[in-house]
C-alpha cells in the first residue's frame, strides 16, 4: 500500500493520535496515523470535514502537538518541543499557504513576503529584501513588488502567499485549500505553479476536499474518521498547464 520511498524522509508520522476534551467527552480526532513523506513528493491529503484532516494539518504545521505518537520533521522530533521551539521550527522548515491568503492589509507584496524572514535574526534587511524579490519573481509577480494587498486579484494574492511560503526555503510547503477561494481558471494557474515547484524538487503537502486536485499530485492520502483509508501513488500525473490551456479565457481577469 505505502509507495516505495527512495528519497530522504521529510515527514515521518508514527501512530499519531490526537484527542480533544470537549466538556466531559473525549473526541478522538486522529486515531493512529502513520506515514512517511519523502523529499520532493507532492502529496494531496483528502478527506471530508470531520475526517481529522485539519487536525493532521495543524500537527504537520507544528501548530499543534499529538497526544501520542512520534512526529519527525526533517529528522527533528516535534512532539516534545516547547511552543517557542516550534515557532522557530515553523520559521525555518515550513511554508504555509492558506485558503484565504492571509496577507497583511495595506502592505506591499515585498513586505508581505519578507514577513517570515523578519522573525529570523540571521537574515539582514538587504538579504531579506533580495530573497523576497526573488521569491516574487519566481511566482511571476516581479512587476508587482510594490502593489499593496488590496490592489491585487485573488490569484495574485495567492501567488504572494506562495512566495511568502517559499522565501524561507522550507523543507515542506503546507497548502490548506489553497485554491478554495479561486475560480477554476485561477485555481489551475496556482496548480501550475505548484506543479512547477514540485518539478524543482520542492516537497508539497496539499490539504483539500476537492478530488480533482489529486490528479495533479504524485500521491494521495485519504483520511476518514481519524484514520488513513487510502494512501496511493499517482502514476499518471496530469499536467495542470495542459488543462489550463483548454479552459476558456476569463474576460474579467
Amino acid at each position: 500500500m505505502t509507495p516505495a520511498m527512495s528519497n530522504r524522509p521529510i515527514i515521518e508520522l508514527h501512530d499519531i493520535r490526537r484527542e480533544f476534551i470537549v466538556g466531559e467527552e473525549v473526541v478522538k480526532a486522529l486515531r493512529g496515523v502513520s506515514f512517511t513523506i519523502g523529499e520532493g513528493e507532492f502529496v494531496t491529503i483528502m478527506g471530508t470535514s470531520g475526517s481529522g484532516k485539519s487536525t493532521l494539518l495543524n500537527i504537520l504545521g507544528c501548530l499543534d502537538t499529538p497526544t501520542s505518537g512520534e512526529f519527525l520533521l526533517d529528522g527533528t522530533p516535534v512532539r516534545t518541543m516547547s511552543k517557542n521551539q516550534r515557532a522557530v521550527l515553523r520559521n525555518r522548515k515550513i511554508g504555509f499557504v492558506f485558503q484565504n491568503y492571509n496577507l497583511l492589509a495595506k502592505t506591499t507584496a515585498v513586505e508581505n513576503v519578507e514577513l517570515p524572514l523578519m522573525y529570523n535574526p540571521a537574515v539582514g534587511a538587504t538579504e531579506r529584501r533580495n530573497r523576497a524579490v526573488t521569491a516574487l519573481r519566481r511566482v511571476g509577480l516581479g512587476n508587482r513588488l510594490s502593489h499593496k494587498s488590496n490592489q491585487m486579484s485573488g490569484g495574485q494574492m495567492q501567488r504572494v502567499a506562495i512566495a511568502r511560503a517559499l522565501v524561507n526555503d522550507p523543507a515542506v510547503i503546507l497548502a490548506d485549500e489553497a485554491t478554495g477561494n479561486l475560480d477554476t481558471r485561477t485555481s489551475f494557474e496556482i496548480l501550475v505553479l505548484f506543479q512547477e515547484l514540485h518539478r524543482e524538487g520542492r516537497t508539497i503537502i496539499f490539504v483539500t476536499h476537492n478530488p480533482e486536485i489529486a490528479q495533479y499530485s504524485s500521491r494521495t492520502i485519504t483520511l476518514r474518521d481519524g484514520k488513513i483509508r487510502d494512501d496511493v501513488s499517482n502514476n499518471n500525473i496530469l499536467d495542470a498547464a495542459e488543462k489550463l490551456a483548454q479552459l476558456p479565457i476569463n474576460d474579467d481577469d
Partner: protein, 407 residues
C-alpha cells in the same frame, strides 16, 4: 526579531490607523500638557513668592512681643502687648553675636500733608540698621543719623509712592517740610523704588523716622511693637534666633519652664509658610492633571484591546510563520509605548507652549523645571507599558490555530 523590525511594524500599525492613533494619543497629549502647565504655574508662583520674601529683607529675624498664646490660652494682638522695650533692643544690639543689624520697630498711621496734597499712610519708627535689614537704599538725600535718633529729630526718609502723592509737581522733596498729622517733619532722604511685592503690597508706601521720634512725639509710649534683625548668613539664622531668645529670656528674668513672652520668626519660616500653601495647590493641580493622564492610559488600553481583536488573523499569521509569544508581546507593547511616548512628546511641546502663552497673555510667573518635563515623560512611558501590557499579553497568548481562522 530585532528591535528595528519591531519599531517598523509599530510605526506601520500606527500609520494604518492614523485617526484612531491620534485620538488615542490625544488623551496622553492632554494629560502630559496639563501636568506640565499646572506644575509650571505652580512652580512659577512659588518661586516668585520666595523671591519676594527674600526681597523683604536679608536673613531677616522678626521679634514680636507676647508669646504665641497669652494667659488662659487667648491670643492677643501684638499691639496690646508691651513686653518688648528699648532695653531689650539695646541688649540685643550690644550682646547678640550672630546679627549684622538690629532695628526697633514702632509704627503709627496718619495723614501726610504737603501744600494742598495729602496722603493717608503710616510711619515706621526705626534705626539706621533697618535699611540693611529690609534691603532698602537711599536714592537721594541721606538716611537720618544716630544724632537724629538721640535728639528725636523731626526728620523722615520717604518712599517713591509718598513722593508721587505729595510732590506731584516734580518738586525735589529733599529739605521740604511735610506734616504728619499735625507735626512738621523735614524730608532728608528718598528711598529707591522696590515696587509691589507678590502679595500686592506697595513696598514704596513707606515713611521712616527715628524710632525715638515716633515713640516720644507721636505715640507717647515706651514699649516697642517689634524688633527686626538680620542674621549674618541664612544658615546661621537658627543659631541667631537661639542667641536672641537667650538674651531676651535673661532680660525678662524668665525662669526655666516659663514660656517666652515674645515670639521670634525668621524669614525662612514665613517663606516656607507661604510656599507650603502654593505647594499644596500645585500638588492638587498636578493630581488633577495626573488623573487625565491615567484616563489617557485607559484610552490606550481600550484601543489596544480593540486592535488585538481586530488583528487576530494577523497575529495568527505571524505566529504560523514563526513569531514567538515574546515577539507578538513586544510588537503590541512597543506599539502602545510608541503611542504614549509620541503623545508624551507632543504633550511636552504643547505644555511648554501653553506655559509660555500663560506667561505672555496672563502675565503669570511661570517656571518650567526639567524634572517636571522628565516626570511627565516618564509617567507617560510607564502608562504605555502598564496599559499596553494586558492587551499585548492577550495577543501573545492567542492560539495560532484559532487565530489564523478567526473571522
Amino acid at each position: 526579531m530585532n528591535f528595528t523590525n519591531l519599531f517598523k511594524i509599530a510605526i506601520k500599525a500606527i500609520n494604518n490607523n492614523k485617526m484612531r492613533s491620534f485620538l488615542t494619543m490625544l488623551g496622553i497629549i492632554i494629560g502630559v500638557a496639563s501636568v506640565i502647565t499646572m506644575l509650571a504655574i505652580g512652580q512659577g508662583s512659588k518661586q516668585s513668592i520666595k523671591q519676594n520674601i527674600a526681597e523683604m529683607g536679608s536673613n531677616m529675624i522678626m521679634i514680636n512681643p507676647g508669646a504665641d498664646r497669652g494667659p488662659g490660652g487667648a491670643r492677643m494682638s501684638a499691639d496690646e502687648m508691651q513686653t518688648l522695650t528699648l532695653t531689650d533692643y539695646e541688649t540685643i544690639r550690644d550682646q547678640a553675636k550672630y546679627l549684622t543689624a538690629v532695628s526697633p520697630s514702632v509704627s503709627s498711621g496718619g495723614q501726610l500733608i504737603y501744600g494742598n496734597n495729602n496722603y493717608q499712610s503710616s510711619v515706621s519708627g526705626v534705626s539706621e540698621g533697618y535699611l540693611t535689614i529690609r534691603q532698602l537704599k537711599v536714592e537721594s538725600g541721606e538716611m537720618f543719623s544716630e544724632a537724629d535718633i538721640k535728639a528725636s529729630a523731626k526728620v523722615c526718609v520717604i518712599g517713591k509712592t509718598i513722593v508721587d502723592n505729595l510732590f506731584p509737581g516734580g518738586v525735589d522733596p529733599i529739605g521740604q517740610v511735610i506734616r504728619f498729622n499735625k507735626m512738621p517733619v523735614r524730608v532728608v532722604g528718598v528711598l529707591k523704588s522696590k515696587g509691589y511685592n507678590s502679595m500686592g503690597m506697595d513696598q514704596d508706601d513707606i515713611v521712616l523716622m527715628p524710632y525715638t521720634t515716633v515713640m516720644k512725639r507721636i505715640l507717647a509710649q515706651t514699649h516697642l511693637q517689634g524688633i527686626y534683625a538680620s542674621a549674618i548668613t541664612e544658615e546661621m539664622t537658627p543659631v541667631a534666633i537661639d542667641d536672641v531668645t537667650q538674651i531676651l529670656r535673661a532680660n525678662h528674668k524668665l525662669r526655666n519652664g516659663e514660656e517666652d513672652d515674645f515670639s521670634i520668626r525668621s524669614q525662612e519660616e514665613i517663606s516656607s509658610m507661604m510656599t507650603s500653601t502654593m505647594s499644596m495647590l500645585t500638588l492638587l493641580l498636578a493630581c488633577v492633571a495626573g488623573i487625565s493622564l491615567v484616563v489617557g492610559g485607559i484610552g490606550i488600553m481600550n484601543i489596544m484591546y480593540v486592535s488585538v481583536t481586530e488583528r487576530t488573523r494577523e497575529i495568527g499569521l505571524r505566529m504560523s510563520v514563526g513569531a514567538r509569544g515574546i515577539d507578538i508581546l513586544s510588537q503590541f507593547l512597543i506599539e502602545a509605548i510608541m503611542i504614549s511616548v509620541t503623545g508624551g512628546l507632543i504633550g511636552v511641546f504643547l505644555g511648554v507652549g501653553l506655559s509660555m502663552a500663560v506667561k505672555v497673555l496672563a502675565q503669570w510667573p511661570i517656571a518650567i523645571e526639567a524634572w517636571t518635563v522628565l516626570l511627565a515623560f516618564v509617567v507617560c512611558t510607564i502608562t504605555g507599558v502598564f496599559f499596553g501590557w494586558y492587551p499585548a499579553r492577550k495577543a501573545a497568548n492567542l492560539d495560532p490555530i484559532e487565530a489564523i481562522r478567526y473571522e
